[in-house]
Symmetry: D2
Subunit: 143 residues, 4 copies
């Protein structure tokens, strides 16, 4: 599998930091989610449309995050996102938060696809699986 990797720029605002002077540890999960959402959007998929038309939603089943080095107020970060495992009804994303060459945090996020009505596991549509696991489009993620 040759994962499509996507990068999204995120600016650190006061809202993201804490009194320790660094980005609060929970907020990396916000950054990761923004990058996953923008990755889908760059491929042409809007999550509200997927819910209303395909009848599916994505929920997080587990996260694993390693915090390597702190991010600070006003820094411009890059958040990457790539699908490393795709099953019938779940996806695993490998994600990173970087500042230039420095990797600040890494994450493994496991997502389940649910039927938006019953909230039970649902098959991920084939067209979505193909997009998420194919070679990267050189025209996306260049922000």
């Amino acid at each position: 599998m040759n994962p499509s990797s996507f990068t999204w720029p995120i600016r650190v605002y006061y809202e993201d930091t804490d009194a320790g002077g660094v980005v609060f540890y929970a907020n990396y999960l916000k950054f990761f989610e923004r990058a996953r959402t923008e990755m889908l959007r760059a491929m042409g998929y809007e999550q509200d449309v997927l819910r209303d038309e395909a009848g599916i939603i994505f929920v997080v089943r587990s996260v694993q995050v390693d915090y390597l080095s702190p991010a600070r107020f006003n820094e411009l970060l890059q958040v990457s996102s790539a699908v490393t495992q795709a099953k019938k009804a779940s996806l695993t994303f490998a994600q990173t938060v970087s500042r230039g060459d420095a990797t600040l945090a890494t994450g493994l996020i496991r997502i389940a696809c649910l039927n938006a009505g019953t909230m039970r596991p649902a098959a991920i549509p084939d067209y979505l699986l193909v997009s998420l696991t194919s070679a990267p489009d050189p025209n996306i993620g260049v922000n």
Copy 2:
């Protein structure tokens, strides 16, 4: 009108602070909302029950906040809440955030009552208006 005043204790955690070392300005609105919710609960009203059984929800129409002095990590604050104006379909709360004798912030929050189905203005039930505008019960809000 002799407003029933209610006080709710709130501890400042890292999540509430920013890199300036103080509570982030948006988070006072979280504190105010917690105190309003707990004031209703202390009077016997749960907002999910009001939505499901009385068919009403409350939404914020306007806020006015004055920030007088900063709150910091690990401090124990007191957040007060009192209804200062009650109309057929809206309420105005006067709220404060204090630390001991020092008032750190004051707020005026205007709330509308909506029909949970149509999202149009709805009359506040009489029993709720009476509770919110009567003299304080000495047994509530003593935390």
Copy 3:
């Protein structure tokens, strides 16, 4: 005074919404702050540099927000920012959150300039006042 108006695009993510299905009321203050920060940046001023080199920081003294219409998940909003009053040591920003032609929220945010060491009121540097209150540069804020 012909205020320089600036607009910044903000996407609504899950983190911004609440169980009512709309953007949580405190989060408009995050959006307003992002737009003020980006307005300064577009004029060439980075707040961490202002703190470290000019020795000043900005703190919010008061906010007034009117919520006119809700914003929802996945919407792309425009947040505007303009200085409507400038004094020696304080600024008032008029801000709006819009979606296309619809204004969703308006805010008046009063900011004080403080000496970063003593935390006492400090004069806003002249170059900054000139930038903030002059006619808009057609090259900024076009996102």
Copy 4:
């Protein structure tokens, strides 16, 4: 090792939820941190005092969270915290979020102890290690 287990009650407010109608996944990390902070406080340790007097701070090195079942607006949750591994300069906490008998999420949080000045690893004071890893005091954590 017989870990001291501690439980802290947490109410779900609108601020904690998202448009999916459930608690936003990043916010479980806030709940976990509140419970760790309150566990230390119940043992007599305030983190601002530890920083100012013992010269140490705690930072999160990694998290692992499994989301089993969603929490919703207005629910009263119990968040537990127990030290399952204690090294010279790091601690691992096993934590859960429950609602009555139902476990909603579990977490493993690895914390490093740093010198507050140099931000380099520092030995955890012996008195703190003893408190965190001894049998539970039946008088704490009963909320």
